[in-house]
């Protein structure tokens, strides 16, 4: 019972992080068919926005010094601004390009952001302490769970519910859903393309900032490479969930979190370092079984 509860909380909190990152990618893919490889670098950018730019080994808090009620909206705004700025600088000029060209340019943009971070902050990972008290364990259902895990699970549920409300109940949400369904048709019917796309990027950037806050608190490290790993998992989640499907992205995020926690717990010790290899093999297998993903959005069917 104890271990089961422990595993459940581990899986749910890891899955929550993956789900949020995957949502950020799925939102943009839905609206403009862009596979945004720069998303992981938005996350890294937000983590580094917490500390003062310098190549010294010791990190000095910058935004991170603000109290939580100020820091959270501030960082979400930073993430949104970064994403919107990248849309203005790069993707706006590629509206008519093929999805492949957009994918490669986002890969290039991610590379630029990563190397810019590397040049400003240096390559060594830095220790940062953001809300260390959140890592103290509390006892829930016989399992000892860090407070942060509970917060992550709650935050994910709030974000997903909030996003669902936004998409279902507001005008911009309706426009986004229309744009995700059929962008050209939506424009003909008076959907404001620029507003929708800017909105999607802002939301996606804010989600990246939320992931950044969680990762910074959980790991206590700022590392230039931290965006890459989570981005890869998030991509895989969006593909397994069905490209462009938001519920699919969330479900697949939780699924991948659960599978990787289970692999970590039950793989033989010798094989544990290879956990990710097993995980990605399962991913390819799952794609073979359901090539369109778990949830197929109606926009994904090819038109002839």
């Amino acid at each position: 019972m104890n271990t089961a509860a422990q595993l459940f909380f581990d899986a749910a909190s890891l899955g929550g992080i993956y789900a949020m990152a995957a949502l950020g990618i799925a939102l943009i893919f839905g609206v403009m068919n862009l596979v945004n490889f720069a998303h992981g670098q938005y996350i890294a950018f937000c983590v580094f926005a917490l500390i003062v730019p310098s190549t010294d080994a010791v990190a000095v808090m910058f935004l991170g010094r603000a109290p939580a009620f100020l820091l959270i909206p501030l960082l979400l705004a930073v993430g949104a601004a970064a994403a919107v700025a990248s849309e203005y600088a790069v993707f706006r000029h590629l509206r008519k390009a093929t999805p492949v060209a957009m994918m490669i340019s986002s890969f290039a943009l991610g590379f630029v952001i990563q190397n810019a971070l590397l040049a400003t902050y240096g390559g060594r990972p830095k220790a940062i302490s953001l809300w260390p008290e959140l890592n103290t364990p509390v006892t829930v259902m016989g399992a000892s769970v860090p407070l942060l895990q509970l917060i992550v699970i709650l935050a994910t549920l709030t974000v997903v519910a909030g996003l669902a409300l936004l998409l279902k109940k507001t005008r911009i949400g309706l426009e986004m859903r229309a744009a995700a369904e059929n962008f050209t048709m939506a424009r003909l019917l008076g959907v404001r393309a620029n507003v929708v796309i800017t909105g999607a990027f802002a939301l996606s950037g804010a989600l990246a900032a939320a992931v950044a806050l969680i990762m910074a608190t959980q790991t206590g490290v700022a590392d230039v490479r931290m965006g890459g790993q989570i981005m890869l998992v998030a991509f895989i989640a969006t593909v397994i969930g069905g490209l462009g499907s938001l519920p699919g992205a969330v479900a697949a995020g939780f699924l991948i979190g659960a599978v990787s926690v289970l692999l970590q717990a039950y793989l033989p010790l010798d094989a544990r370092p290879f956990r990710d290899a097993f995980l990605y093999t399962l991913v390819i297998v799952s794609l073979l079984v359901r090539p369109q993903g778990l949830f197929v959005p109606s926009s994904a069917k090819p038109r002839v």
Binding site: A97, A101, M103, I104, F111, V112, N115, F235, I284, P291
Partner: protein
Amino acid sequence: MPGKHMQNRLLAHSTPLILALILLAFVAGVALTGDRALARMAAETLVRVTLVVGLWIFVGNSGVISFGHAGYMAIGAYCSAWLTLKPQAKALFLPDLPVWLANAEWHVFPAAIASGFLAAFVALISGAAILRLSGIAASIATFAFLAIVYTVYSNWEGVTGATSSVVGLTRYVGPWVALAWAVAAIVAANLYANSASGLALRATREDEVAARASGIDQYRHRLLSLVISGFFTGVAGALFGHSLGVLNPDSFYLGITFIALAMLVVGGIGSLSGAVTGVLVLSLLIEALVRLEQGITIGEAALALPSGAQEILIGIVMILVLILRPAGLTGGAEFRLRARTPRLSFDQEQTTTN
């Protein structure tokens, strides 16, 4: 007219000739200066030509972006290290190798061929799974493949040395060896692209539905091109290892994936000439930027770019090319002799027709 068509098909084979002459001129020019740093740069550039042409055989013809080729490269590089390193060195650094491999002491050339075949075999297995997916899903799956290879090679302590580097590879890859392999890759790429399978695959790239309606089995042609592509990528990996002398799993991850794709995109993904042009242009740019990072003196003033500027500028160049010239510098055209007026020129026809 059948006569003109035949002539056109024959002239398509002038492309590798022209590209080989350009590369030969490049190597000969570098060799004449006698500068050792330049010779190393030329060798690295030609290894990249082999890599990017290998990548093009799959990506250029199928239109599916692959992020997994750095994985095939790693497989080739480590295979060549297993076969050519001295048995004493292997007993020390790679104790878990099977006995026959631990005692193997091959000549470098058959080892390079074997590396290519191993990478091609892995391409066959991985491609059989991944290529059943469509476009973007397949690209993401190749990314998963890259992550699998990277995870395995950076944790398999006794066989790959994990994250500590494998050292002591014979550094036999100079400009001329690399030139020979680059030309071999170009000739093979051109032969494949103009073969029945290559033309069918390019038809699927242009219009999947129409190609399928014409009875083209997309999966089979994609798989064949991936296997050929895997062979040359594996060889490029072996050459890469033997030009540096050191292997580390980190050399075969996102950095090289990015550079190879950047070269392909900047040159023009649609044509073989584009792949080669991209490598030459970006390699020269990288070399210039690296020298600028080290600092140059113009008169009294010492100029130096901040470190990291090289990668940032390459990324920006790539984005600019994608925005301003989406089909790359060559615009998807091949360098080739033209019918009627036999002179060197850009072919203005669309690649889809040649």
